[in-house]
């Protein structure tokens, strides 16, 4: 099948793999679009930092499903929480609107019942409360820590019911 090379954009991932993708898919990546538009001459290969080949595989899967009207079938179930975070960061870097909404929702669903300690680690955040401030806000929102399905805090002793 003869396909004009100008319909394909070459993207090089962080791990050195080159993906030739349709222009329409590249258009969903606002970061890539900006690079293409800024270049004076036709760009030969666009490096995409922070994006690995396994991310591109999933992005292409999502694209194929959405073109077929089946974007609801796209699933990230097989990814663990950290892999999901890496994927979200890649999609965030590429600035892809629809997939971004899907992934932020997926992360939110994973974090819903997690502990404060887990969330701090996950987001790479330091606790900037003084011990007194933390105690106060912990007490104020005590109801939000209750529930059998809520992950208990590591540093808090399990209460005897």
């Amino acid at each position: 099948m003869a396909s004009s090379s100008s319909n394909l954009i070459s993207l090089k991932t962080s791990d050195g793999t080159v993906f030739k993708v349709e222009r329409a898919l590249a258009k969903t990546m606002k970061t890539v679009q900006a690079i293409i538009e800024e270049a004076d001459a036709n760009i030969y290969m666009i490096p995409i930092h922070n994006v690995f080949s396994h991310h591109m595989d999933m992005i292409i899967d999502y694209y194929k499903l959405s073109v077929a009207g089946k974007s609801k079938e796209f699933s990230v179930e097989k990814l663990d929480n950290d892999e999901l975070k890496d994927f979200l960061l890649a999609v965030h870097y590429l600035n892809m609107e629809d997939l971004f909404e899907v992934l932020t929702q997926a992360v939110a669903d994973r974090l819903e019942k997690k502990s404060v300690g887990y969330v701090r680690k996950y987001f790479g955040i330091e606790n900037d409360f003084t011990p007194e401030e933390y105690a106060a806000i912990r007490k104020k929102n005590d109801w939000a820590f209750k529930g059998d399905d809520i992950e208990p805090e590591e540093d808090e002793e399990k209460q005897e019911e």
Partner: protein
């Protein structure tokens, strides 16, 4: 669930930029957000951060709660077109992006002669069936009706209404809903008894009848007395969501004295109730409260004397600290009170000139519906149609 990818990628704890963090947080339920307020200082003040609040509001409005799948909006409007003349309740089916299509639906035959002040209980439908009620002096009508099939079923009278020839009942239709455990439709009612004025009660016939709750079950086709001490309703706002009837009250459990306002939630399956007090900053004698379901969440629209409407969404039933202020509606000129909410952040109001209007939370625009309604007599109902026979059994 934790799998490691292959040896090729070293696991790096990437720091997530705040903007991205907010995108994730804005999709979390209120309970999680309040817990994560303990993560860091800036997250303790999420709902005071305009940037976050906008994201949260946008997601809240655009997120289609499954409660609304396949539903339409009904407007039950009561008015007397000619001042001094009789009141009529009219039922409209609203459709179109801006509710530009209003189709009048005819009430079922029992209401053909008298269509004044017809109530649609709990502003809800169960398998396409509505529960209608009308109180006309001593005449009480209560029936199930499916507007799509036109089938209706009259609910029999309760044996508890006239326990004494000298006492008259005041009936408050409290709720209608579905008991999924028994696959049954239930109607909840509060009865209060008063001496019939002007009638002397002979001492030997004196019988004080306590106020009581009663519940009707379609399966047994009968009313049963409920042995429960539960606060009665203080307003017309009664809701049903997932087998639980909600209303709000200013009475305590035995209906004495004026108490601080509280949400009362009655589970139709196990017939127990839970109260949720309002947080102290929601209570003010000058505030006007309106209980509603907003995009699937229990909420109070609070109108204070500065003519600003605040919307408080309930984070968790039973938890008074979980009422979260999410929306603020800037002073809306001549708006008097809400009459209900739609499916995507539309709030319906009545203006002081009786015009009914709707307010779009995302665009902040107000539009007239083209009908007028009497104060506190108009309601929005979320209706899901069905061709099933009433009760489906």
């Amino acid at each position: 669930m934790e799998k490691s990818m292959g040896a090729t990628n070293a696991k790096v704890i990437n720091h997530i930029p705040e903007d991205l963090a907010f995108s994730i947080l804005s999709k979390l339920p209120l309970k999680s957000l309040k817990r994560f307020g303990c993560v860091r200082r800036s997250w303790a003040l999420l709902f005071e951060n305009l940037h976050f609040l906008n994201m949260y509001r946008n997601y809240f409005i655009s997120n289609n709660h499954s409660y609304y799948d396949g539903t339409s909006i009904l407007l039950n409007q009561t008015n007397n077109p000619l001042s001094g003349e009789a009141f009529h309740s009219t039922l409209y089916l609203l459709s179109g992006e801006r509710f530009e299509n209003m189709v009048k639906l005819d009430w079922p035959p029992p209401f053909h002669e008298d269509d004044s002040f017809i109530e649609i209980l709990s502003k809800t439908s169960v398998n396409g069936t509505l529960c209608l009620a009308q109180k006309n002096g001593m005449d009480l009508k209560c029936l199930f009706w499916n507007p799509t099939t036109d089938e209706f079923k009259i609910i029999p009278s309760s044996p508890f209404l006239y326990q004494s020839p000298y006492m008259e009942p005041t009936v408050d239709f409290n709720g209608f809903g579905y008991d999924h455990v028994r696959d049954d439709y239930k109607v909840l009612r509060w009865l209060c008894f008063f001496n019939i004025t002007g009638v002397e009660v002979p001492w030997e016939d004196y019988l004080y009848v306590d106020p009581m709750w009663e519940i009707y079950s379609l399966r047994s086709n009968s009313w049963t007395k409920l042995d429960i001490e539960m606060p009665a309703s203080a307003s017309n706002e009664k809701l049903h969501v997932d087998g639980v009837c909600h209303w709000w009250s200013i009475h305590d459990d035995i209906n004495c004295y004026d108490s601080p306002p509280r949400l009362v939630s009655f589970d139709l399956c196990n017939e127990v109730f839970l109260t949720t007090h309002l947080s102290s900053d929601m209570i003010d004698p000058l505030n006007i409260l309106h209980l509603t379901l907003l995009n699937g969440f229990i909420a109070f629209i609070i109108y204070d004397q500065t003519t600003t409407f605040h919307i408080r969404i309930l984070g968790e039933l039973g938890v008074k600290e979980s009422w979260t202020k999410v929306f603020i509606l800037e002073p809306l000129p001549s708006i008097e009170h809400p009459i209900g909410a739609g499916r995507k952040g539309e709030i319906f109001f009545r203006k002081d000139d009786d015009e009914l209007v709707w307010f779009d939370l995302s665009t902040q625009m107000i539009e007239e519906l083209g009908v007028k309604g009497r104060e506190h007599c108009c309601h929005i109902v979320i209706y899901k149609d069905s061709l099933l026979p009433i009760g489906g059994f």
